[in-house]
Amino acid sequence: MIVVEKLVKSYNANRVLHGIDHAQPRGQTVVLIGPSGCGKSTFLRCLNQLEIADSGRITIGDVTIDGGRAPRNATERERQRQLRMRSGMVFQQFNLFPHLSVLQNVIVAPIVVKGVAEAEAEALSRGLLAKVGLENKADAYPGQLSGGQQQRVAIARALAMQPDVMLFDEPTSALDPELRDEVLRVMRQLAEEGMTMIVVTHEMQFARDAADHVLFFDGGHVAESGPPEQIFSDPKHERTRDFLRRVTTR
């Protein structure tokens, strides 16, 4: 489903990703953990082309893009768009559209990007809002919702494009602790339903319960990877042990 080969990304002279390889079958949930600044978010942002990798190759489903440069012509732009349409992104800061109602936030992309008929898009979107438990907030505006509610709307908005993969970039980090569970619950449900997901998070409990596979990022490398029970109970790497000790005793 997802294949990443030798992904390299630098900001000026500072190399953030040192040739990441990653393969992930359909329906798996992969959780990325690691200290701040280790390259987890950059990796995720490269996957849907919010950052353009210096080199390497990204394949999601049937779309493959090589790193190196931003698209220059219509064909390349179209391929980039296709890749983005196959992945849904959930941001740390939600990034909902404040001038649109909750329902409009969810239906705008299917209508504008895919050309879905409005009635069809609305039916789909109301279903998704019900799924994240916000069907009664369809006419509210983002400014009227709590952070947890906003993040659930953001999930519904990403799902509305019916992506093959969902990318979560620290989805609960901006939330008060008591609001995190409602978001994690929705994410767990998605994972159980067989959505292919990559999640960058500091929620170790979620990683332990929901992940099929955990990648430990350190200094732009994948320092260790494996099933959660192995990573959390028997980490091979000294750095992994250090990191886990620090986050679990916090």
Partner: protein, 501 residues
Amino acid sequence: MSNAWRWSRVTWFTKIFFVLLLAGVALPVLPSDQLAEIKSRGVLLWGADAEGGAPYVYPDPDKPERMIGFESELADAIAARLGVKAKMVQNQWDQLIPALGGGNFDIILNGLEITPDVQQQVAMTEPYYVYTQQIVTRRESGVPTTMTELKGKAVGVQSSSVAQRLLEKMGGTDLRIYPGNVESFRDLKAHRIDAVLLDLPIAIFYAKPDAELQFSGAPFAPGYYAIGVPKEDTMLLAALNQAIHDLAADGTLERIDRKYNVWDERQAQLKDYIPTAVAQTKAISTLREWPKYLPRLLSGAVVTVKISVLAMLLAVVVGLVIVLMRLYGIAPLRWAAAIYVEVMRGTPLLIQLFLIYYGLPQIGIRLPASFAAILGLGLNYAASESENYRAGIQAIPKGQMEASQALGMSQWQCLRHVILPQAFRLVIPPVTNDFIAMFKDSSIVSVITMVELTKVYGMLAMSTYDYIGLGIMTAGIYFALSYPASLFAQWLERRLAHDRR
């Protein structure tokens, strides 16, 4: 206790108030002798307009810091008779009479015609020149040659000149009012108007040497130029009359006139001048007679509204194109947009209007005045709108663009559905501010013959001299039109404020 204290305090202020009041009332009634003042300071200050002022008074082409002209030399000769030096004070011509009241200069010596209107405001000396009106046309056109033939034609006149008054009285012409005479000749040559009606001396200086123009028909409607003096300065008036009389008698007047090619046989009529007593009419209160003046002001307001609304529409649309070029265009478009903004912002609107209206005809583009006004204001404000938009767009968090891209939107789709609608609300206050500013600034288009609200005010004030009453009415109209615009903007902003709880 506290009561007594307060009373004494009030009395104290009242005392000062009365002293000031008495001083204020007493000063103007003190016997004033401006002649003595002039002699003691050794300088006679004379008010005139040297802009396009030839052959009356104008900068010497060879030595621009020096003023020449037949009135300039007359002023020197008169001052010499009074035993002082003459010094010119520059003042816009159609504002000379109000400025004399303000005390910036002692006399008006600048083609001021002896008319009952003028004599209501200032005392006039004996005349020093007999002027006539002359019709000037393009060389090839045969007509018009008389006043009546001007009917149905577009005729240029200088603001508040005798020519304007004559044509307004006759009616039936398409009257175009210019700040000076140079501009009217330019428009005549640009085929924007059919004829110019003006005082003969100006025609002799500007139109006669011009191969494209001709004098059409004989001069008519003779009248007198005289010096205007504040009414209370009777001693000064007498001294000036004596000086003019002496200069006419010893041939100085003729010598000066001949030097500037404005002498003709009509000057013999100067000695036939008999001062007529002018009945002092009551001062006009335009506020009390508002039904007579308000409709004329409102007709000017219609022009103001039309121009500013259309110009703002143009500015809003062009500004959007410019900001999109600047933020999202390829490099050459970005540079072009940046240069446009800097040039429009860094040069005066007045110059831009002049270039569009008087400059473009020289390369064959002749725009009607209303079109030029809308274009000039609109293109100028477009620069400022594009900067408003730029600030608004850049205030939208980066995450909005990223979220749209992640959903597969193209840059244009993101702008259209996400960025611009949010920026729209942010720019409502500055754009409204610009609209109201433009609404008031639009008075500047009177320099290209548009008769809008402020121009109508100026014209009415000139004939009634009731600056206060008309000023209150005019300001009231401006306010009555701009305040609803600001209320509408506040309402719109509130309506769109979804993201605030």
